[in-house]
Amino acid sequence: MKDEIITLAHGSGARLTQQLIAEIFAPHFHLPALTDSVAIGHNLVVTTDAHVVKPIFFPGGDIGKLSVTGTVNDIAVSGAQPLYLLATFIIEEGFPISDLKKIVASMQEAALEAGVKIIAGDTKVVEKHNAEGIYITTTGIGTLPLDLHLGTDKIKNGDLIIVNGNIGDHTIAIINARNELDLQPPPRSDCAPLNGLIACMLPAADLHFMRDATRGGVATILNEVFEDNGLGIIIDEASLPISAATLAVSNLLGLEPLYMANEGVIVTFAAADTTGLIPAMKKHRYGKNAALIGKVTSDVKGVFLRTTIGSLRPLPMLHSDPLPRIC
């Protein structure tokens, strides 16, 4: 690694994060593949995820809800059913107990909705200023149906690429809450457990691969898929579900929704002849804005965007977090 210290860009989920894992962690750990969750034994799936978010409470959720839904979704996108969570809290000295109560209550609510049980945990308190408020790490365990295998190796030419809802809303909600852009009404995070939606999708179509589009956004996932199997992808800009508020703010700040972190968006690759999937998704509360956004194709090498004016341009992997521009 060239830069000898860790910078925030190493945590962005983009190219630098990949480098960190490949160069620093992988040589010392046993990492079978760079996926969100990993199968152990016949049908157990585990995953773990650390949650840091500023502000801790934001419209549409808080760090507690996020810590449950993030891990539930990482398990669910493998096709497994999430069952149990373990939670670790790192809390800064001086943190209000009333806030902790709120966070724990919202964890309970999210766990109830997702149908998972939080069965163990650990708490550490660090001196004032040695952490900012509270960090939560959750580990999830789920079971995978024996006959189900989703993976980038199953993706084929012609596969349809589908998302379940508006992209970018979580990032815009956080930017607004953090910087008091004073948008009215304040945009809400899409933070939600998606295992229920996925359970409706599995029987509705021949699914090949699913991923939740958190850090790095939809575009990063598409690039990871391309790097994994070398199949080209064309996304149709006009078909992207993006709310008016998210579009307006991202244009203003020079940010692209396709690269924004989401907490309730999954990208699905389904067989080319799929028909009933989107209608099935639209019946679920987290699939109302489901849309076909692109296809796997041998026409291109790499990930490309068909723009609204009909031109084709690359949609590459970013090196690090895009920076909001001066405006």
Binding site: D3, A9, N179, T308, I309, L312, R313, L323, C327
Partner: protein
Amino acid sequence: MAKSDLVRIKYLIEDLWQWKKPVRIMEVCGSHTMVIGKYGIRSLLPPSIELISGPGCPVCVTPASFIDALLTLKNVTIATFGDLIRVPGINGTLEQARAAGLDVRIVYSPLEALKIASTRETVFAGIGFETTIPGIAHTLLEAQRLKLHNFSVLPAFKTIPPALKALLSTDNIAIDGFILPGHVSVITGSAAYQFLVDDFHTGGVIAGFEPITLLQTIKDIISQLKRGIPMIENAYKEVVSIQGNIPAQNIIRKVLQPEDAYWRGLGKIPASGLGIKEEFAQFNAIRKYDLQITETEMPSGCRCGDVLKGFIKPPQCPLFATTCHPAHPLGPCMVSSEGSCAAYYKYER
């Protein structure tokens, strides 16, 4: 996009493909560079029409010594627009300094920096063109009204017309027409560019930010060339007037005054910057902390200057996409998403 717009775009492109003589059109403003990249507009144009990116990315033209000056500050909070934090000074970037303990905060408006100053000594990194400058000048007036003692601005403000003048005065420069900035012109007014025609016999069109307007603008510039009569046209009349935004100009005049400025890649350009007036000296970080902003060398091999002047396209720089890329920018044109090299790296490889 509406069906009728798509049809119009198709006709515009067909029309542009009729043009055979090589021309070079410069888009001055970084936001236009972004739109051109984002919509893949270059890929729609005939080989005879070349678009080159000009000096209108505020981050790109901020000299390295500005970053280095901020890095010398101790025990203060530095408030900055986001895309400045990866710009390399000689001694590193604000992002690296933040990782090493410097309190660097990204803000979206200068007033936000003022809020931070209510609790701690704060320096705002004052970069930008006519678009951002009035807001910062207003913030300085606010600081004075609130009698703040722990707020200051490090000024490196720049104005576009003198830069265009310097550019056209460069030997061998070959620019046939300008896509003139939309937002900057809201403040300056279209009259500010008349010298392009009078002194340099070069025309330009003030453009908005829709892809269709940009294509129309390119067509308008080609029409000027066909007629052989350069002129300043305004294709953004909804918001750009002849005289510009007078109250904003007044607020700038009240707080700031013209001075020579260093542009990364272009060097010193007379009266192209705006410094803080003596009455507001207490809010001038240069005075408060005894800082200096000077001309600094470009990193060795970086050809940003030639890119900004339109002499080469980014891929013609030997360092492009080899040792210089967005995660490790050697030159400023690679740092901001609006920089020509970064836009090429992202959209046109």
